[in-house]
């Protein structure tokens, strides 16, 4: 076990995968440059050579498509998108191709590709540099979507994603890059589809994704001081998501707050809320609350960003509301 930041943990997963599996390669815009990837890919090209770790022209579609084609013939690519917004230029290879291939051909070929994308928001970057589009991709049969919130999970989920045998969208959040945590030194997996119970509690269940899971940790402390006992679930895997853990928790607490820092309409929080209401309605003692972004594009001005983004305080307010 050693202490690593979230970004270093991502790097360690890459390095170990490249070392242990000759089928793994890393491509995409910015893989040679920390301006794009922070320390999450630092010097991998020097360690493993620029044939296996290669920066790419500004061609999201062809780069992603090439990674998918290589995966279909048996490689294990990780294709990197420094911002999710830009990844939309690769929507055809991801949604029409990678997601469909296994089903379309009756399971004769799989697409073991990891499509890694960074959510890199705030800092007055605005509408086209800030989007968190996990719901868009979680909608599509054939894709899996993971969003780690800790260094431990950042490493373990990347390894699980590469070994999964299916197209996995691995979404990491730049706001988590400096977060430190204990990380095992070996090559381990965090199973896709399992959430993490971060804290047991009896009053209310908070289900959070990505950086909102980190915000929820702070919110839980504040609420504990107010004698509110929160059960905190870090979803980690957006598709599939861990229904068993969420249902059993809500079955116990009877109250649910879902925190997902993406738009509310048609989002992951809506999906979880609908599933809980549909499956274990009678366990609920109060309406479900969602903490999401308002349905507007990301603004630039700091004054507007402050009201646009959600965080620990919003989770605290939502928990208090469902306890009223």
């Amino acid at each position: 076990m050693h202490r690593l930041t979230y970004a270093q943990a991502i790097r360690e997963a890459h390095a170990q995968l490249l070392r242990h599996d000759p089928r793994v390669f890393v491509c995409g815009q910015g893989v040679w440059n920390p301006w794009y990837a922070g320390t999450s890919l630092q010097d991998l090209d020097k360690e493993f050579g620029r044939e296996r770790v290669f920066d790419c022209p500004v061609s999201e579609n062809a780069t992603t498509g090439a990674a998918i084609g290589a995966a279909i013939v048996g490689m294990r690519p990780i294709v990197f998108h420094a911002r999710m917004d830009f990844m939309l230029l690769a929507a055809d290879p991801i949604v029409n191709q990678a997601a469909n291939w296994s089903y379309l051909f009756g399971g004769q070929v799989g697409v073991p590709v990891v499509i890694r994308s960074v959510i890199n928001r705030g800092g007055e970057q605005g509408a086209q540099h800030s989007q968190a589009l996990q719901a868009l991709f979680a909608h599509v049969p054939g894709l899996k979507v993971v969003m780690p919130s800790t260094p431990h999970d950042a490493k373990g989920l990347l390894i699980a994603a590469v070994r999964d045998g299916n197209p996995v969208l691995y979404l990491d959040d730049r706001w988590l890059y400096e977060l430190e945590g204990d990380v095992p030194e070996d090559l381990y997996e965090v199973p896709i589809g399992t959430a993490a119970l971060r804290r047991s509690g009896k009053d209310v269940t908070v289900v959070a994704t990505s950086y909102m899971a980190a915000e929820a940790v702070k919110a839980v402390e504040t609420l504990a001081q107010r004698s509110i006992d929160v059960e905190l679930i870090d979803l980690r895997s957006i598709k599939p998501w861990d229904r068993d853990l969420v249902y059993s928790s809500v079955g116990k607490t009877g109250r649910l707050v879902i925190a997902d820092a993406a738009w509310m309409s048609g989002g992951i929080a809506a999906d979880i809320a609908a599933a809980v209401a549909g499956e274990i309605f009678h366990a609920l003692k109060a309406p479900i609350a969602r903490v999401c972004l308002p349905d507007v594009p990301a603004p630039t001005a700091a004054a507007l960003e402050r009201v646009y983004y959600v965080g620990a305080e919003d989770i605290v307010a939502a928990v208090e509301k469902v306890l009223l």
Binding site: A66, A70, D92, Q97, K144
Partner: protein, 321 residues
Amino acid sequence: MTVGQSLLRMMLLIRAVEERIGELVSAGEIKTPCHLSIGQEAIAAGVCAALGRQDTVWGGHRSHGHYLAKGGDLNAMMAEIFGKATGCSKGRGGSMHLIAPAQGLYGTVPLVGATVPLAVGAGLASKLRHEPHVAVAFFGDGATEEGHFHESLNLAALYRLPVLFVCENNFYSTHMALSERRLKDNIVQAAEPSGMPGLRLDGNDVLAVFDGAVQAVTRARAGEGPSLLECRTYRWRGHVGPAWDIAVGEHRRRELDEWLPKDPIMRLKRRLVDEGVSAQKLDAMAPVIRDEVEAAVAFARLSPSPDESDLLRHVYAPRRK
């Protein structure tokens, strides 16, 4: 069988299969949209004859010919078109989504030019594994208007990947003629900006296509990178289905008058006879092929439909370590 004779046989097979499919579409027995390559058989036959089994082929919506020329099983393709469980895609693909992985036909899908970047990826895999296999992307003239086509050419050239970009320029993208979609008839020049060779070939001359493909394959295997082959041909039938599409305008009638005499099958036959092969021997191919096609239709008809319980299977592949 000589190269010329086996090319003729393959073109005859593709023609016979597609004419039969056309009849079955008209009769209402086949429902899935079928895009026929009648008149364009020389490109699939000529290019695939230059390939080995481990070379990969990627196609589009009009890919019956690519599937057959790469060695795909005729019965499995016919069953697929009939929507049967014995189909090459287990009844999930229909005419537009074909696969024969053991033969290196890795997939054909109808999103225009969608497999072009995938073929680049197969070329990339060859390079990273230090294997000599080449990847071939077949696509139509319409695909050259897509952005990812140009992205793919640049990527393949930049990394010197063993890829053949084979444009089957049949001068139509659905109902739109090439001249209605671009000012110049210059698809082959798309090779220039990425610095790869572009070859403009008579796509109705199967031996010219074969020679061009051999040249591009040799270059690719030698590590010298990709090539673009513009094979000029003509789509005899409509975009989808067996109709001749005369109704779209007088120009179609004129064009057909010009192109039907350039039938790649007749041209090769004439040439082989001129070279001294007995016409009788060549004519003997047709009935054998007809029987093969009828056997495939019978196989498809007798095959079971996919089971309803199959609906939810294979959305995800099993984990493969």
